[in-house]
Symmetry: D5
Subunit: 118 residues, 10 copies
């Protein structure tokens, strides 16, 4: 997973950093490519976080996620890497990422990854 | 966000202040304007609170929220500011505000803000 | 809210007082009148309780609630008063009342009241 | 409630007694008779338990519940008695019974009963 | 339940073992045969786990589960045995298996089994 | 059914009488009283019509329907009478009224009445 | 199927015989007994009709249907016989009966019967 | 209703005019102002049409509909006028407009308007 | 598709042959094997028919369908063949078979076949 | 729209050409690129047809549709072109294509195209 994907992500200043509050962003149009079969995968990503000084900007998030469109990546890698990228760029107090992928071979898989500031 | 919006809010005396109880008010017809694009935004606001001496009056809440109709405001600002206004006017024991906004660019966002009396 | 409404409520002896268990009663046909506008209000009341020595009888509950049909009462008063009446008559170990009212002016309200034996 | 109803219940040996696990059985076709009005009542029973040495056999459970078909019993009695019978026969580590009954006079009732080994 | 079924299961290396995260896999096409009646049973298996060094590979999971297609097994045995096999092969930090089976005789049953590393 | 109820109904001039079009009005808060038992009935009325020169005004419709709140009337009478009143006052090209009433004794009833200009 | 069941059915005079209109009655609590296995069957009956001079009375319908509670009858017989009884007693312009029965052996069955005055 | 609203609407050439086919466009974020009360109204517009030589462009439709945001208009006027504007600009073979408006005073209204080329 | 599968099907005499009525049977637990990949397929079969002199017996239908459990068959073949078998055995006035199969490769397929007596 | 896309489509011989029957194929993972904005579009395609001598093969359909993944195409063009390709390759008796696309700018669009053999 190339770490330069995260350069697309832009942030804006959290307007209420004095308060712990939660932002939940749902992206039902995520798609990437299975590195084993070359077939496209589809899923919904739900990002929930408590911002510290920075919030991610929604349009830049959309462009960031579109980079995976023709990129090969397994479910476990995709969700962990996107969490790492979003954490690196926004430095939140807490963040959780849920990836829900469409069925393949009659089986469907969700991956749930969480970051808590140490 | 002009703080004089809150002057529209009216309250009535809590008829049962001796008891902690919860009032939940759901407003599915909230609309404001994106300050960046000038395009209208739409969402549902859910206000939940434990009143102390004052409850907000529903008709004044409706008029208060209508002031945002042609007002430019980002999601994070809107939800935090409305919480601040409602807290300032009703001085509740506890209050929570959830804003669920309709999709833009295939992505939708919720903001959850909470106040707990110190 | 006249306290003599509660005289309609009848109870029967809890057949299993040795055990803490929960009874949940859902009344989707509650209606009263708004004391300000004179317009009818509609809602669903959900009563949940752990009985001690007495359970309320369902038919008497129906007749008790029908007394509000042409009675003026605000949401907060209605739910708190009904809880007080049911607690006075059944003396439960614990009771909770949720009132969910239909939308007015595009806004809808729920009131949640709870009693816990001191 | 005749205690000889429980003689219909059969058990089989729990194949994994070394592990605490949960079995949930849902019976949407329960029916009995109201002892006051003689009218049939209908409901869904959900039995959840952690077995110890014995599990109840499903066909015998069906036959056990069919004994209530023409038997007069109030909701509170039915749910507490069925729990007692199932506990007596299977001696579980924990068991919970939820009875959800269909509406009568615009009101519907659920009864939730729980057993925890002393 | 033959223990050689588990030889079909393949694993791959957990790409993010430094983090506790959760993988949830839903298999709505599980079928086996009732050993008593010889009739087919149908159900949905949901496997949730926190991987340690190994994740199970989805295609091998599908083939593993297909081995039960013509195999006689009671619900309680099936869910406990599949959990044991998946634990033996992936050695997870935590795993939970929920089996939800379709109705028989108007009654339906779920079995919930959990493993937590000692 | 007193025919003077219809005097409450007000109309406004159809702004597009040159075109056949359809107006559908849904009233989920209808309530009347059963003349036999004295118990309140509840239902949803759906009025669909092609206006000619007149449309009914919504606030007057609300007040018209509220007259049935403490009025005794069987389902079949209520729906036929309301249709007759609405037809008499608005003289539509076509009108249909569907009344869907809440369950009583485990049975629920809908009544569908239609008017077509001769 | 004993034809004397129909003696329980009572009618009242159709208050609007000059107009063709439709009455739909939904009975989700129908139960009878399978004559082959002796096991109870459950289903929802939906009766739709255009009355002529007579409508069936709802309480008598409930009592009529309760006669099937301990009566052996196959689905096809039950639905055809109930239609015949209701037609004989109410002599409608048109009537349709839909019986939707709960699953047995993983299979569920609906029967649709219609009467049209010759 | 000012007819110059329609100047905002842009069209593009129908790429398949040789074939009758249907385009359905759903706009759940329509809002205007009630001319009587000054209060905002909300609704969903669904436009269905068979294009001839021209299709309306979606972004221009969005801007066209936004002109109603602070404009006073009754439901019947809004839906008929928007149909007229869309027909005037795209000259379709057939077009239908359904406006579904949110509840006011416990009553909600839909308006269905249709155009068929003479 | 071996034609001797149909020998499992049993019929009983239609109790009301003098009337055209409809029987609808829904089988959500159909499974067969893909002849190309050897992988199991799953689907729901809905059989609707107007019987003439014979109705198919439900238990024999279940056993008939279970013969496909380990049999290789494409969707189009399965649905057409089952219709042919059911028509041959019951000689109905009309019959329709809908097969709805679960997704494969992100695509799902339904096949609808109908027989009308010549 | 390059017409060589259709070369990916493969067919197999209709096993029951003597009978008019219907095949319905639902593809919820369709994605292409908006030629104006360069942004990805997402939608569900539903293809319904009565085959003549040929049926399209599902895996080749999947590969055919994947060619649109990075291809610029408006909704109206996409649906009409895919219909043309499928008609050219399978020469059906009748075919219908419904494209349902996800919302953009708060507006969503469906396109319905139909072919009937002349």
């Amino acid at each position: 997973m190339p770490t330069d994907f995260r350069q697309t992500l832009e942030t804006f200043e959290n307007p209420f950093p004095q308060r712990d509050y939660t932002i939940e962003t749902i992206c039902p149009e995520f798609t990437s490519v299975c590195p084993k079969t070359g077939q496209p995968d589809f899923g919904t990503l739900t990002i929930t976080y408590i911002p510290d000084q920075k919030c991610f900007e929604l349009k830049s998030l959309k462009l960031y996620l579109q980079q995976y469109r023709n990129h090969g990546a397994f479910y476990e890698n995709v969700t962990n890497t996107i969490l790492d990228d979003l954490v690196a760029v926004t430095e939140p107090r807490w963040m959780k990422l849920v990836g829900e992928f469409t069925p393949r071979g009659g089986i469907r898989t969700n991956v749930i990854v969480e970051y808590r500031r140490g």
